[in-house]
């Protein structure tokens, strides 16, 4: 019922979509697959009315349409859930879910009871038990995403476009989401969906369309693909194993944590980190992993316990302290805690390590430019140039800039919180290779990730957190998905 024909879109000189034609049917889950920059987001935004096509037509229920704004599309029944979440931070969960359709009585008086009730109902569909009175700014990224999905579900759209909805969800929330999607399909809603998680696509999708470099490659029922064939369509070549070989870690302890506590997030956590080692942190959403590593970076200092770096006990009150001791971090929230949107790629890249090319307070321009150029090439960051504002880059490229920024300051201990979230398979393998290089070079890596295959394949040892307690510590060789999950689930 929703047909795109020959859609093209240019941004300046860059053509992001070239004559793409796809058809979306009611009651079907249609996955759009492709690497970063393949044009999936752009296609969805064209369908949702955020952009206008330069060429081609969109036909909705048999009539050609020209949305001039997302509101027009929404009115016609096409809703979109974005990859970059946009809640209203100071309103409550319920108010966000029913934004624009708040129930009122005849005089315009807000019906609070109905508001709360409907919000709770939609959250329940997603198996979420958040208090609808919570303020959005107090939620974590993952919780915010669930609320956004509830919002779109509540709009009762006929077509729901989801741009990487599960990027921040743990496995158990994903299952709930899939259940909800299945229900939508039964009601006749068409769901258009992008993700980078391979296993999800096969669980969920009825048909898959692959885009590469802005062009349509193929559209077939999901059963026609295998993971390998799908990847090779997306990438245009055969990818060998994605994960690098693990070089053995040394015995030298670079970081020791004893009984680290910060209620209510985590308590009495103790572990050691060795040079050349990747220590994976697994657990469910809300287990306290982000808070734990934030304490090691000075963002959320622990209230008791000790942190010892290379034999010396340290107190980390802010990130500057951590950086001075050789600890670097890339946070999970690149929009809120990562990039400076108004600044350029170069300015973002060199931000932390600026003191390395500063003399008497003055920035050495040529040196900064050279180094930035080198890093851009090394990390294969796709941008128009060093001076492009970073907010115009795709999520994956922004993440690469943040990684480069952290590494430029030459930390010895590297903390990565969900480093491959929202990044395509090609870029992911680059990051995995990078992690391998880091450990080979003698750095120690703390890796927080919700993607089990990633954690299992990349780590030397794995820590599992359960609701703030350290539930399990085992070498990766002994770990299985079942063991990890069972230790992660609440008792």
């Amino acid at each position: 019922m929703l047909v795109a024909q020959g859609l093209s879109k240019k941004f300046g000189d860059l053509t992001v979509l070239k004559a793409v034609s796809v058809e979306f049917r009611p009651g079907e889950v249609h996955a759009l697959m492709g690497e970063n920059g393949a044009g999936k987001s752009t296609l969805m935004k064209l369908l949702a009315g955020l952009y206008q096509p330069d060429a081609g037509t969109i036909t909705w229920r048999g009539h050609p349409v020209h949305w001039r704004s997302p509101l027009e599309a929404l009115a016609q029944g096409i809703a979109m859930i974005h990859q970059e979440l946009m809640p209203i931070p100071d309103l409550t969960v319920a108010e966000n879910i029913l934004l624009g359709r708040e129930p009122t009585n005849a005089w315009g008086w807000l019906d609070q009871k109905l508001l709360q009730a409907e919000a709770v109902a939609w959250l329940k569909v997603l198996d979420c038990h958040l208090d609808p009175q919570t303020r959005m700014r107090d939620l974590t990224v993952a919780q915010t995403q669930v609320v956004e999905i509830a919002k779109a579900l509540g709009r009762r759209a006929d077509v729901i476009l989801m741009d990487e909805p599960t990027a921040a969800l743990s496995d158990h929330e994903c299952t709930a989401l899939f259940k909800a999607i299945r229900q939508l399909c039964q009601r006749g809603v068409a769901v258009v969906y992008t993700t980078h998680k391979m296993d999800e696509v096969f669980q969920l999708a009825d048909r898959i369309t692959v885009l590469r470099d802005g062009e349509w490659v193929t559209t077939q029922p999901a059963s026609n693909f295998t993971p390998a064939s799908l990847i090779s369509h997306m990438v245009g070549r055969d990818l060998a194993t994605v994960f690098p070989a693990l070089t053995p870690a040394s015995q030298e302890v670079v970081l020791e944590v004893q009984a680290l506590t910060r209620e209510p997030y985590f308590r009495k956590v103790s572990f050691q980190l060795h040079r050349g080692e990747v220590l994976g942190l697994a657990g469910l959403m809300g287990a306290g992993r982000t808070e734990l590593v934030s304490a090691l970076y000075g963002l959320l200092p622990a209230t008791s316990g000790t942190i010892t770096l290379k034999g010396q006990p340290v107190v980390l009150r802010n990130p500057a302290d951590a950086l001075a001791h050789g600890v670097g971090m890339v946070t999970e929230d690149r929009k809120g805690l990562g990039i400076i949107p108004a600044l350029s790629v170069q300015q973002n890249l060199t931000l932390t390590a600026l003191h390395r090319f500063t003399q008497a307070g003055v920035i050495l321009g040529t040196q900064e430019k050279q180094v930035s150029q080198a890093e851009m090439t090394r990390f294969k960051i796709k941008a128009r140039g060093l001076t492009q504002p970073i907010r115009e880059l795709s999520g994956g490229n922004q993440q690469k800039v943040l990684l480069a920024r952290m590494l430029l300051d030459a930390p010895e201990i590297v903390i990565l919180d969900e480093p491959t979230r929202g990044i395509d398979i090609g870029a992911k393998s680059e990051i995995y290779a990078l992690i391998g290089q880091l450990t080979a070079a003698g750095k120690a890596v703390l890796l927080v990730s919700s993607e089990l295959p990633e954690v299992l394949a990349l780590s030397h040892r794995i820590l599992v957190l359960r609701q703030g307690d350290l539930a399990l510590e085992i070498p990766a060789s002994d770990a299985t998905p079942e063991k990890v999950l069972s230790n992660a689930m609440p008792l």
Binding site: Y297, L299, N318, P319, A320, A322, L323, M329, T331, G336, L337, G338, I339, I340, P341, A342, L343, Q347, L351, T352, L354, H355, T358, G361, V362, I363, G365, R405, D409
Partner: protein, 310 residues
């Protein structure tokens, strides 16, 4: 090259300035004369120095409403120590500047350590500084300034000293913001304070610097004003903060922080100054002046933002 691109970013304002200058030169006999243009430059200097100072604060997503009152207080302090035969002329000048710096530092401490919103902090300073000015001056203008100080309102080789001050301040500020690490940090803190903290920047130090620098420049403006009107007036500077902040915002600095340049501020200052001067030369009644000024400014900003988006 960089100057070139920045220029184009503000082409909307430059275009309107060009039209104004052309139209005014044609329709009045006196606009295009050297003496008038010197006047305009002299008349915008005080607002210009204030505008450069508050640019730093606005860049960090803050605001400073106390500018006018601190100008008055600095002027009063300067004039109090500027009586003939008392101290060498450098003393009242430095004391005036230091007074501004202290007020700015105080503002900065309350914003960073105290965690109070800049609007409230500087609103408070606005009334406190005004009160202090009245106390130190006993409610009346502090007169009897040495010629050494009043000479500051004069010229050097045909160029008003106030204009030289403005030009030097603007140049130094521009170079600083572009090429110094602390300047880069100011943009980062204004652009995304949390991200800047995560990247290892001391947000407290950066903000404190911005407010103190703004205060120092406000003190300088106060000294220049006192020299111009030959008194330290406790009632001087009324609503000066509005003109200064307006100039900065017209020039493209965002009130949300993180975006803006000194070139933009200069253009904003010039636009307001040319409009004021031109309307006076055209002998437009004061009441119409306000309306016309508003129309031109809105038009210039609309064009400028439109053009900057592309």
């Amino acid at each position: 090259m960089k100057f070139n691109r920045e220029f184009f970013h503000r082409f909307g304002i430059i275009f309107v300035l060009g039209i104004l200058i052309t139209a005014l030169s044609v329709s009045t006999e006196s606009f295009g004369t050297l003496s008038n243009l010197t006047n305009v430059a002299r008349q915008v200097s005080i607002n210009g120095i204030l505008a450069v100072g508050v640019t730093f604060v606005l860049l960090t997503a803050g605001v400073d409403l106390s500018l006018g009152s601190v100008v008055a207080l600095s002027g009063v302090v300067c004039a109090t120590f500027a009586h003939p035969g008392q101290y060498p002329v450098l003393v009242p000048i430095l004391l005036g500047i230091a007074t501004g710096g202290l007020c700015g530092c105080f503002n900065g401490l309350l914003v960073t350590r105290g965690g109070v919103a800049p609007f409230i902090v500087t609103l408070g300073m606005m009334t406190v500084a005004r009160g202090l000015a009245l106390i130190f001056s006993d409610g009346r203008p502090v007169a009897n300034m040495s010629p050494g100080l009043t000479n500051l309102a004069g010229d050097v080789a045909g160029v008003p000293i106030a204009v030289l001050c403005f030009a030097l301040v603007a140049l130094a500020a521009s170079v600083f913001l572009k090429n110094f690490r602390l300047g880069r940090h100011i943009y980062a803190v204004g652009g995304n304070e949390n991200a800047a903290r995560v990247a290892g920047i001391s947000v407290t130090r950066v903000k404190l610097f911005a407010y103190t620098l703004c205060g120092l420049l406000t003190g300088l403006a106060g000294v220049v004003l006192a020299a111009r009107i030959t008194t330290g007036q406790p009632n001087a500077g009324m609503a000066y903060e509005l003109d200064a902040i307006a100039a900065v915002v017209i020039g493209g600095t965002s009130l949300a922080g993180g975006v803006g340049t000194i070139l933009g501020t200069i253009l904003g200052v010039l636009l307001i100054g040319v409009i004021n001067n031109g309307l006076d030369l055209l002998m437009v009644s004061s009441y119409y002046q306000a309306v016309i000024k508003g129309l031109i400014i809105v038009g210039a900003v609309w064009l400028d933002r439109r053009q900057a988006r592309s």
